[in-house]
């Protein structure tokens, strides 16, 4: 069954007036959004190189072992920061601000300042990542960037974030959409977390393990209160947009949002289970982690019911294929995460590659895949031209989908075995290390798939950017099945 409003043409909107308005909004953010997308892809490629180096080094320690700046501890930290602040945050600035502007129906004012703030963000990050490789890193997880670069990051972030809030302030219409709640909240939460963590750990260190508590309150919330809301906002915006029908339940959206807001930010302490901190703190973290089942199930039901019966359209649309992969991963990774917080499970998974697999499951299979979907939807509207190659989109999707699946399975199976063996003091430690090697090699293989996917993505995007004129003549959007088949379905 096909709702009447369903249409493959991206420029289709009910009225010409709305079309003109959206077009004006798109034009106002075009330069900044394209800058953020290009930066994000640059960091994604650089982060991929760091990731491959770190992955190979983890099973072949002599690989490039003579270079101090490429030693494992530094290159994995360069990878993390390139991906978290370079790829993820830049793509959030692009897609998140664009969705915000569109839903507020307010063109972005003074876009030059936004662009300059974006340039400073990327300069700060470049200085920071080179600082890590050069030996100035802090060894505080998720806050490795040396302190000479962080004030610039905080300052430029504030400028960028304020632009989202300004768009919200000048919105038209009464209704505030689900996506807007998430984006507004995340824009407000992230700087609070970042500044508090910087001040309490780096600039004026608090005493003892309060640092560690602050560290994991921050680090887990980068995922929980920055990446997750932005990815959910993107999914909430794109699913109805592409399928042409509203989100299943408004009330489930409300419940999902508030339960996430209340529970997620207490959950980070589960990274310190068994550690030298008061037990009540750990128990609070475990309770919050388990309570996360509520927002996850609620959002899962809401998304699932919204696409019910339209699986063919989902599969055909590049945007939704990625978004739905991400949405399904969100349910899976969150339920695994909640169970990892249980003391009996954590006793095994803590300190192992299981956690590394879990982190990639969240940040990649969920967040990154949804953001890829967002880029596939946004760029044709900003550039007024279509994606040049459906083949490259397919390589991108399958490279990433297969790659991340291999990685998560390898690290979680290998990590579980590692955890079971570590719990048994009879097994010598070196033997456990050796037993992880095949799984770590599987991770390196997964890296090849992911790299192929990223290269296809970058190629398609730069092709689109530099040959936009030539692509304008193309008829209709780029879909992942051939035209005849689409016509027969429509």
């Amino acid at each position: 069954m096909m709702p009447k409003s369903y249409n493959y043409n991206p420029y289709s909107s009910p009225s010409d007036a709305v079309k003109a308005e959206l077009s004006e909004i798109d034009a106002s953010i075009r330069s900044a959004a394209i800058f953020f997308v290009i930066s994000a892809i640059g960091w994604l490629m650089l982060g991929t190189i760091f990731a491959l180096l770190a992955a190979v080094k983890s099973h072949s320690p002599d690989f490039a072992g003579a270079y101090e700046f490429l030693t494992f501890g530094r290159v994995r930290s360069a990878h993390l920061n390139s991906m978290a602040l370079g790829w993820a945050s830049n793509i959030i600035f692009a897609v998140g601000l664009w969705i915000m502007a569109r839903l507020c129906r307010a063109p972005i004012q003074h876009k030059g300042i936004l662009l300059i703030a974006g340039i400073f963000w990327n300069i700060g990050l470049t200085v920071g990542v080179f600082g890590i490789l050069g030996g100035d890193m802090t060894s505080v997880e998720w806050l490795e960037i040396p302190r000479y670069a962080t004030p610039l990051l905080a300052f430029s972030y504030t400028l960028i974030g304020v632009w989202g809030v300004i768009a919200f302030r000048f919105r038209k219409g009464d209704h505030v959409y689900v996506s807007q709640w998430y984006i507004l909240a995340a824009l407000f939460w992230f700087p609070w977390l970042y500044v508090v963590a910087q001040v309490m750990i780096i600039w004026f260190p608090v005493r003892g393990v309060v640092q560690s508590v602050t560290n994991w309150w921050f680090a887990h919330n980068v995922l929980g209160l920055w990446f997750t809301p932005m990815a959910l906002a993107t999914a909430y915006y794109l699913i109805p947009k592409v399928l042409g029908r509203p989100i299943y339940s408004y009330y489930l959206s409300v419940l999902g949002f508030w339960s996430l807001a209340i529970f997620y930010n207490w959950a980070g302490i589960h990274h310190l289970i068994g550690g030298p901190i008061p037990v009540w703190l750990i128990s609070a973290g475990i309770v919050a982690s388990v309570m996360m089942v509520i927002p996850v199930i609620v959002v899962g039901i809401n998304h699932h019911m919204s696409i019910l019966g339209m699986h063919k359209q989902v599969w055909r649309s590049p945007t939704l294929r990625f978004v739905v992969f991400g949405a399904i991963s969100y349910t899976l990774v969150s339920l695994i995460g909640s169970s990892m917080a249980l003391r009996t499970v954590n006793e095994i998974t803590h300190f192992t590659h299981f956690t590394v697999g879990h982190a990639h499951h969240g940040v990649y299979a969920f967040f990154t895949m949804i953001m890829f979907g967002g880029v596939y939807y946004m760029m044709p509207r900003l550039l007024k031209c279509e994606w040049p190659s459906a083949g490259l989109i397919k390589i991108h999707f399958w490279g990433c989908a297969i790659g991340i699946t291999i990685m998560v399975v390898a690290l979680q199976v290998g990590g579980w075995i590692q955890g079971m063996e570590m719990k048994n003091a009879e097994i010598p430690f070196l033997e456990i290390v050796q037993n992880t090697i095949p799984w770590l090699k599987a991770r390196s293989v997964s890296g090849i798939f992911l790299t192929a996917g990223h290269c296809a993505f970058a190629l398609n995007l730069f092709w689109m950017l530099f040959a936009a004129g030539a692509l304008r003549a193309k008829e209709g959007p780029t879909l992942l099945v051939n035209k005849e088949k689409v016509n027969s379905i429509v």
């Binding site: 501890g73 309060v210 550690g275």
Partner: protein
Amino acid sequence: MKNLPLLFCGIFFALAFSFVGLILTSHIQLGSLTQTTETLVPSDDDPTKMVVVEGDPLYPSQSVGLAQQGKLEYISLGCMYCHSQQIRRADFGADIDRGWGPRQSVARDYIMQDRVLLGTMRTGPDLTHLGGRYAGDAGRDWNHLHLYNPQIVSKGSTMPPFAFLYETRKIENNVSKDALVFPPGSEYGPEEGYEVIPTRRAVALVEYLLSLKINYSLPEAVIPE
């Protein structure tokens, strides 16, 4: 949703709640922990109050000099991404059974550190008590060889070599007393007529590693007999 004040308050209080609950409250509970003696005695003025034993050494002690510089190397090289520094209690994991430490770590163990490196990964073993496990000159030599290339003393390890912290130079007159002593026939040793000398950074790093030890009890965490 149309009730914007509620939305803003909710967004604000959601994070404020966890900030107060987790960060400020743990700071109130732990921020005033001080050094103490291994056991406590009832106070003369108020017998219900336990106080430190006059004249006994205070723990945890402040690490000094070279070890402090070594900690900066440990931080700069990112050692904590594979090595934790926390011992879990006896019936939770096998930390104590593996001999990684004589007792569980508690919050007070970390109060003298300006950067706490608990770590969340054990690609390599826990290092809380490394200095207790590898003590003295033998421990020092072992750690230098292990840092130079872990394969020398721990064949099959996945730890990267830190040979860039060492200098290979031509032997002039006599072999330097600081030179690494490789096992006979080791394939990792320098060529004939050359020797491997630790740089200042390597010396500091090994001193830091040797300084890591839990060789004291605390009133709340006693080393079992």
